[in-house]
């Protein structure tokens, strides 16, 4: 049973310390600003700014230098901070593969890594596959072979498929299925997906 009178234990985090010391400094110097600062949650914003960490990444050939909360996953950095929404968030727990991107040419689940861990790396997302208006051969093959229905898993499927072929894991039907098993498609477009991969691998 949950006790209603239970209070959260006091703990001294860096954030609380920063908030308290910022507030105390404000009291000491300009008392009139306290009210405004509290209303605008400036203490929170101040502490948050100090917790950000610099990250430099090359994303689809473009150098990006950003400040991120260390808790930000690579997926959230792409979608929320950089507005590259082609990479999809499905389960956010590495079970569906919708968030698949390439890091230094290798496919990974971007939901299972922190942006700060990827500092200095080269990221390729679905937005980086096409050459201007010219679709990547795998993108064309997906269209030709009807490799999708609703399309939500498609960016992850295509990123995974490109890597699957590059790795040499697309030599037969069984191998394609095994090495694409990290990408789920709830519409069940698997046959079309496998056919698209076969088309490119041959």
């Amino acid at each position: 049973m949950i006790k209603s009178d239970e209070k959260e234990l006091p703990h001294c985090s860096r954030r609380n310390f920063l908030k308290q010391s910022a507030a105390l400094t404000a009291v000491a110097i300009i008392p009139a600003t306290i009210d405004t600062a509290a209303k605008n949650r400036l203490d929170e914003k101040y502490a948050y700014q100090l917790e950000l960490m610099p990250v430099s990444l090359e994303i689809n050939g473009v150098q990006k230098n950003v400040q991120v909360d260390p808790r930000t996953t690579l997926l959230d950095l792409l979608r929320e901070n950089l507005h590259l929404t082609g990479t999809k968030k499905g389960c956010d727990h590495g079970q569906c593969g919708a968030c698949t991107v390439h890091v230094n040419g290798q496919r990974i689940n971007s939901c299972l890594t922190l942006a700060v861990m990827q500092n200095g790396n080269k990221i390729t997302t679905i937005e980086g596959l096409a050459n201007g208006d010219q679709l990547h051969p795998m993108q064309k093959a997906f269209i030709k072979c009807d490799g999708f229905q609703c399309g939500y898993c498609t960016p992850g499927q295509i990123m995974s498929a490109v890597a699957c072929v590059a790795e040499g894991h697309a030599t037969n039907d069984e191998q394609i299925k095994e090495f694409m098993s990290g990408n789920l498609c709830r519409c069940g477009a698997y046959n079309g997906i496998a056919n698209a991969i076969k088309e490119i691998a041959k």
Binding site: D92, G97, I108, N109, L112, V116, K177, E178, G182
Partner: protein, 326 residues
């Protein structure tokens, strides 16, 4: 996710120093399990030490055996020429685990340290002695079809989830560890993971702050007759209901050495020593395999929903042994 401080030291010394900065520190390598646990606030480290810059990725092989760096990626190990040639059981087990994406992120040491996939461990609304010691085990009398049939306790019936570790247990690997004060220890792989007993919150015997630096496997003659059989709810990308790693050294039709380990059946990779002993000196044929599989399930204790695992293990072992000589 709770807030944390983050650093990426350049060497082991720096990693130990960064770890000591906070009592709740955690090392992160691939992060494929830890981040999952942090999102659910099952793991709440206030300090994360990223060890990916440490030079622990090398694989070295010679006439005595093979040494695999703790940070070697699962995909790299699985397709390494020396592993494929001399230790193919390890390669097969690695490729049976997770997905291509996760194998590209997951490291050898992280694989060893991954937590159980018992659904109650992940469901923070339910009691779990592994997650919160003293709260009780929900799986013991709950939906326990995934739970252990060997070595469980009143306090925990969870199973160890790795495939790689089942092969390493069968191959008599050793775990090389560097402690926080710089000492190097080597632990037999089968002593690395623990049974739940009264402390199910502890999965293994790694002392806090220690870093796994490599695993070693002694040279063996198991590269001809081996098999890794994984039985799961779907064909790929699922944890094992039961898995079996078998390795046989056969001379003139007779079994000289046998190694058998099972996954999905216990809180640690489960060596089936009695079945191994039984096979020694026997003709490597179906009759002996059938008998060994009966020996293997001796002492199995099912819960309400997982008795099927006993038959699965028996049949699975028999099949794996047959495949090993096919």
């Amino acid at each position: 996710m709770k807030t944390f401080t983050f650093s990426k030291p350049a060497d082991i010394k720096g990693a130990h120093a960064a770890f000591k900065a906070n009592a709740t520190s955690q090392f992160i390598a691939g992060g494929t399990n830890l981040l999952d646990l942090m999102k659910k606030e099952i793991a709440t480290p206030a300090n994360i030490v990223d060890i990916n810059q440490l030079t622990l990725k090398e694989i070295k092989s010679d006439s005595k055996g093979i040494s695999i760096g703790a940070l070697a990626l699962n995909s790299f190990v699985a397709e390494h020429a020396d592993v494929e040639k001399d230790y193919p059981l390890l390669s097969k087990a690695l490729l049976a685990g997770a997905s291509a994406q996760i194998r590209n992120m997951a490291t050898v040491s992280g694989n060893m340290l991954q937590r159980t996939r018992c659904p109650y461990f992940y469901d923070v609304a339910m009691p779990c002695n592994k997650r919160e010691p003293g709260t009780g085990c929900s799986a013991k009398d709950g939906l326990n079809r995934m739970s252990a049939i060997f070595g469980a306790s009143e306090n925990c019936v969870a199973v160890h989830p790795s495939d790689m570790c089942i092969a390493l247990a069968a191959l008599d690997a050793r775990v090389v560890v560097q402690t926080a004060d710089g000492k190097e220890n080597s632990i037999p792989f089968t002593d690395f993971h623990r049974l739940p007993g009264n402390t199910p919150d502890r999965d293994n015997n790694l002392v806090k702050g220690s870093l796994i630096t490599k695993i070693t496997i002694p040279k063996n003659n198991f590269n001809t007759h081996f098999h890794y059989l994984k039985i799961r709810d779907r064909v790929s990308y699922a944890f094992a209901l039961v898995s079996v790693a078998v390795a046989l050294d056969i001379e003139n039709g007779k079994i000289k050495v046998a190694r058998i380990a099972a996954g999905g059946v216990a809180h640690k990779p489960w060596r089936l020593y009695e079945a191994e002993q039984f096979l020694i000196g026997k003709t490597a044929k179906e009759a002996a395999f059938k008998q060994a599989a009966i020996v293997a399930i001796k002492g199995a204790k099912p819960l309400q929903h997982n008795a099927f695992k006993i038959k699965l293990l028996q049949n699975g072992l028999e099949l794996a042994l047959k495949n090993a000589i096919a």
